[in-house]
């Protein structure tokens, strides 16, 4: 069954077909994905939504090259991350994928500029240049003048802005956000997602957001509902509003 409800943009960033994932724990097999089909195009923001345990996190982990699938096929920006060797996959991830985590994961003993500069330094850029480039992005996310602050001195929303800057600093082609608003209050979460939509959306980049937060659904181009390891249905914010109306 093809659930794709594609926008008019041209390039396909992610093409997943029949992706399966089974977690084995002793004698128990837990099926997380039962043949998920998904296409995400460059320039669009999609939200993966659904109940806990439906396979959202497994799917984005596989797309980001963090987790191996057990079946199906996957192409991310024309490559199957699983076909790459361990080190090559790590390098691919570094060049192509930006991450925004639920818990920010900012290193508390570094300044926010240093935190935001990590992907550039991992790519081999010297610390000074990387921090300078990170500072430009911090300005764009509204943290000008706070570059030398410690993460602990920032509010949750500001910390997530730093995480967004860190995710975008090396201009990745895929931005993966895992529950980016769950640790924030409603208004702050909305502002953070508006920021993701504003600075994250650009031609050539796809943004995939896992979220339970219905208040931010309107910022997506498509809302992909998952259930029991499959793509259940795909909606647009407009169709979602009409359904609820």
């Amino acid at each position: 069954m093809n659930h794709q409800m594609t926008p008019s943009t041209t390039e396909i960033a992610v093409r997943a077909s029949g992706v399966e994932k089974v977690y084995v724990s002793g004698d128990t097999n837990v099926v997380a994905l039962r043949g998920a089909d998904l296409e995400v195009h460059t320039g669009e923001i999609v939200m993966l939504v659904g109940p806990s345990g439906c396979g959202k996190t497994s799917l984005i982990s596989i797309i980001a090259g963090l987790l191996a699938r057990d079946g199906g096929s996957l192409e991310v920006m024309g490559k199957d991350p699983q076909a790459l060797s361990g080190e090559a996959r790590t390098a691919w991830r570094l060049r192509n994928v930006g991450f925004v985590f639920q818990q920010f994961n900012l290193i508390p003993t570094l300044t926010i500029a240093e935190n935001a500069a990590i992907p550039l330094i991992l790519q081999g850029m010297d610390r000074r240049s990387a921090c300078a480039q990170a500072c430009e992005l911090l300005q764009r996310v509204g943290l000008a003048g706070r570059e030398r602050s410690s993460p602990a001195r920032l509010s949750g929303g500001q910390q997530q802005r730093v995480a967004i800057a860190r995710a975008l600093v090396n201009a990745p082609k895929i931005l993966v956000c895992d529950e980016p608003t769950s640790a924030l209050d409603g208004m702050t979460g909305l502002r953070v997602m508006e920021l993701v939509a504003q600075v994250g959306r650009m031609p050539g980049r796809a943004v995939i957001v896992v979220s339970h937060d219905e208040r931010i659904y309107h910022l997506a181009d498509r809302i992909i509902h998952m259930d029991d390891g499959r793509i259940d249905r795909i909606e647009t914010p407009a169709s979602l509003r009409s359904t609820h109306a």
């Binding site: 996190t57 982990s61 994928v97 991450f99 639920q102 290193i107 003993t109 570094l110 990590i118 991992l122």
Partner: protein
């Protein structure tokens, strides 16, 4: 990433100082106890190191260590002298005698009687008087430490306040008069008795009369003589065993190591230091890595290679190890410099810092290895699990 690794380490100040203190304390315990042990052991053969002239120390085969006197026949000296390859041989008296002080105090004292003619085996450093003053009647040379402590004149003959023993004062050795003609500096004995030097003949007069009075024979080899051949010949002709100074010192230390509980006592303290390091510093460093695991996981997800992450943990471990070791060995050095040597045997040989460094390296390597193992096993997808 090296600077970031160090900022992660230094930034967690409570844990950083905890690990640092643990490693420093561990280094202090290991190196200080080892230095005291080496100091004590050095005292067991101090007379050998104070006496560099002889090539051979010739003793009774039953003698187990330096102070285990088994007197020899006086004729043995002539028999050794007549051995081919021996340039000179002199008798030595070394024994514990009672000294009577003017104030009535009695003090067990180590008396060393050196060859009357050559004065070989005299004290290593003269502070007052000269070695040849021993040729004066009733002459003795006293160790400086004893003049201030055991031989302190509480009732000086001229009256007045107590004062150290000095040149010109007289003592009694076995009820015979002995006049101090010089003050010397000698290595403290293992049992910390005062040391008196005199001539061999005078020492044998001070000592209770026995049939055998030669404690050991000191000998010099003729230039170009083969030491092992001479040793074998001496043994064949006299039935006595010969050792070089180094061998005699090793034999003495070997006895104390094998036959006493001293190595076990100090070994226990040194092991304790090591386990303090493992339990405190090693555990804290491992916890430090565990606490940072989520950040390592995030970096791994972002694309940090295994080499980068392992390099960060290794740098953190190496840095804290060097700092902890440096502080610990510094504290041991300060301890050694400030505590008077006569009160505490302390000798930090070059091997001791190496041993302490090896212990710290093991502690840090082990805890870093366990931490690195956790980092390697880290599934980057776990960062999505919160």
């Amino acid at each position: 990433m090296p600077i970031f690794a160090l900022k992660m380490l230094f930034g967690d100040s409570a844990r950083f100082y905890g690990i640092l203190l643990g490693l420093a304390f561990s280094t202090l315990l290991i190196s200080q106890q080892a230095s005291i042990f080496v100091g004590l052991m050095s005292r067991t053969f101090g007379f050998v190191t104070d006496t560099p002239q002889p090539d051979l120390w010739i003793v009774d085969p039953a003698q187990r260590f330096l102070d285990d006197n088994k007197p020899l026949r006086s004729t043995s000296v002539q028999r050794v002298r007549s051995t081919e390859g021996i340039e000179w041989a002199v008798p030595l008296f070394k024994g514990l005698l009672v000294v009577n002080l003017p104030d009535g105090k009695r003090q067990m004292t180590q008396v060393i009687g050196i060859d009357d003619a050559s004065l070989i085996a005299g004290p290593p450093f003269m502070l007052e008087g000269s070695l040849t003053d021993l040729r004066k009647p009733d002459a003795i040379i006293v160790d400086e430490r004893a003049t201030r402590r055991e031989f302190k004149m509480n009732l000086p003959p001229e009256g007045g306040d107590p004062r150290p023993l000095r040149v010109g004062d007289t003592l009694e050795l076995n009820e015979r008069r002995a006049e101090v003609v010089g003050i010397c500096k000698a290595t403290q004995t293992f049992q910390s008795q005062p040391v008196i030097y005199t001539t061999y003949n005078r020492a044998t007069q001070y000592a209770p009369r026995e049939r055998r009075m030669v404690t050991m024979i000191l000998a010099g080899l003729t230039p170009g003589a083969n030491a092992s051949e001479v040793i074998a010949t001496v043994e064949q002709r006299t039935g006595l065993l010969s050792y070089t100074g180094e061998e005699f010192a090793e034999k003495t230390v070997g006895y104390w190591m094998r036959e006493t509980g001293i190595p076990i006592n100090f070994g226990t303290a040194i092991l304790l230091g090591f386990f303090v390091g493992v339990a405190v510093a090693g555990q804290m460093f491992y916890n430090f890595v565990l606490d940072n695991l989520k950040y390592f996981g995030a970096m791994k997800a972002m694309g940090a290679s295994r080499g980068t992450l392992l390099g960060m943990v290794f740098l953190q471990a190496a840095t804290i190890a060097i700092l902890g070791f440096g502080i610990g060995i510094g504290m041991t050095s300060v301890f050694g410099l400030t505590v008077p040597g006569e009160r505490l045997a302390f000798r930090m040989t070059w091997q001791i810092p190496l041993i302490a460094a090896a212990a710290v390296t093991i502690i840090c390597t082990a805890s870093a290895a366990v931490g690195m193992w956790r980092v390697l096993r880290l599934d980057p997808a776990d960062v999505f699990k919160g």
